[in-house]
Symmetry: C2
Subunit: 348 residues, 2 copies
């Protein structure tokens, strides 16, 4: 069966004050679609994954938000981390829990806060990918054909092509490059943005984690008897902090020899910056992206405005600014200076 | 005795959204002094006018605001207009009420929403002025020595000087001039900004109103018996709407032959525009005027920011903007475009 594991533990600090530790970006309707990013992530898999096969891994602080936004989720499917330990322990927890009853499960592992503009193509790619991992003992990453030399993403270099030249072996993972290097990647071709979305069978994932993080694997082996019982949360709260703080890329993918990449284009964005959010959001005729609020723009272009529902704002004479209000905090800053938002947020 | 009549019925529409019809500018601490403009107006007359000789004329909608901000005021000293009728009826109401028991009273008549930076000099001028009107049957206006060819104020042209050349006869009142005309005024000299503050004995004011607006005078004569009784408000509510909608300048001063002007300089401003407010407010090293709120300015200059108490704002990379929030409405606009604020306020 296909299972969807949604990683929803991020804190979204780059989107302050819209996104706060109390309510990070994945729990907000940042694109003004009427759904939060988490909800959109789930809905995107409609008819591909059954509701009872959806799993959300998040911080224990966000239980109420998940429960409210995805009320159909059984408590057993909301995996609550007592502390942040990056993606490897997060994926291990879900994998161990699922493999207890379905080691042959096809796992689709995806962040909760990404966006795809071409959902039909995304669904086609996922379905092709599931077919692939069902019959191959590999980890299939989705690589995005780059449109520009982006320095904010990691890249996947493809190797030999399989399957009528769509899916390729991975030759190498590349860290976020500088602009010159990214330009070389684009010129040479065969490099794809690492979307952070991947597909793998539960038993394959288990094996890879066991091989690369044997102590962590043992930790989850010891929890096997408490999964799906009333004792699970307490046991996780006790054991999980011992997990290494390490990403799945660094812990597994960069060393594994069964890595594959599916080069695809479905209008993907990690919505990792206000700039990315601006690109993906609907814009008015003057190129302003207005998310919620009751906002009037005059002689303004290229702005992105986030306001609480119903909040009235008049913005006149601004070019390329971020205007964001939440929880009684207002930020006005140049879009070009968004990398300083963390610094701004620390001023209070 | 000296009596102070404060005209506090304005609606301050140019300062939206900071100032609203529910709470206009005179009831707000727009300069960040810790006092509202109404309070500062009263406190400025400390030891010149006794508390029991202070009168506030305002709209009946603002009774609670006046009562809260000036709790020492007896209800008989809060004169409530049932509708807006400009300054002549406002002044007539107060004059008739005061002259009932003290026709020889010296009246100091002042708007509630002006500012003076040199309070000591202002107090000296007021005291000199009171001396003058006690012994002269005239109306003494305070004329401000102009510092620049302002087109937002009316001007008073002085005539022959009296009293060791300080107080002069008024030769003419001039409407708000265009820039060229204002420049001529400055070059020629003998023209002063009309501050809207004037001094006059109650009986002199009564006589002038009786002569210029005889029907209105009769209306207030008829109310004489109800002043200071429980029936006063109901009678005013019934009669006041019949008053002509006319300013004291137009109704009396421009025709009277007993007009005097005291040329003075005490850092006066009518705070009539955001620009004027900006000039009078305290500014940080970068020239930003921050009124209330918890506001951090970065790489910003020449801005004026009004935020509700405690409201957190970060403003980065703005030059010469107005940022004002009140009652859940935020305005961001260029200072140079402030004359369009009324238009902006009508967008909702």
């Amino acid at each position: 069966m296909e299972h969807l594991i949604i990683m929803a533990g991020g804190v979204g600090s780059r989107f302050w004050p819209m996104s706060t530790p109390e309510r990070p970006k994945q729990f907000i309707d940042v694109l003004g679609t009427g759904n939060t990013l988490l909800q959109d992530t789930v809905y995107r898999f409609g008819h591909i994954v059954r509701d009872e096969n959806i799993w959300v891994v998040t911080s224990r602080h966000y239980y109420d938000l998940v429960k409210k936004q995805l009320p159909f989720l059984d408590n057993n499917h909301i995996l609550l981390e007592p502390c942040r330990r990056n993606t490897a322990p997060c994926i291990a927890y879900a994998t161990w829990k699922i493999k207890k009853y379905d080691p042959e499960a096809s796992l689709i592992i995806a962040p909760a806060d990404h966006n795809m503009t071409d959902v039909e193509e995304f669904r086609r790619v996922i379905q092709e990918g599931v077919k692939f991992v069902k019959t191959n003992k590999g980890i299939l990453t989705l690589g995005i054909t780059p449109s520009h030399p982006e320095t904010g993403y990691g890249y996947i270099q493809s190797g030999k092509a399989l399957e009528e030249e769509k899916i390729c072996k991975v030759k190498a993972f590349k860290e976020k490059p500088d602009y010159a290097t990214a330009s070389v990647y684009l010129r040479e071709g065969g490099y794809y943005w690492n979307s952070g979305i991947f597909l793998v069978k539960a038993c394959t994932m288990e094996q890879a984690l066991r091989q690369n993080l044997p102590e962590m694997a043992k930790l989850f082996d010891n929890l096997d008897s408490v999964f799906y019982t009333a004792a699970e949360q307490e046991a996780i709260d006790r054991s999980f902090p011992s997990c290494p703080n390490i990403s799945i890329d660094y812990a597994v993918m960069e060393h594994a020899d069964n890595m594959y990449v599916y080069p695809a284009s479905f209008g993907w964005s990690d919505l990792g910056t206000w700039g990315a959010l601006y690109e993906q959001a609907e814009k008015d005729a003057a190129g302003n992206a207005l998310v919620a609020g009751n906002v009037k723009m005059l002689e303004s272009t290229g702005c992105i405005v986030h306001a609480p529902a119903g909040k009235k704002m008049i913005v006149q004479g601004l070019q390329d600014y971020i205007i964001a209000e939440e929880n009684g905090v207002l930020l006005i800053c140049r879009k070009a200076d968004e990398q300083r938002i963390k610094e701004f947020s620390e001023l209070f």
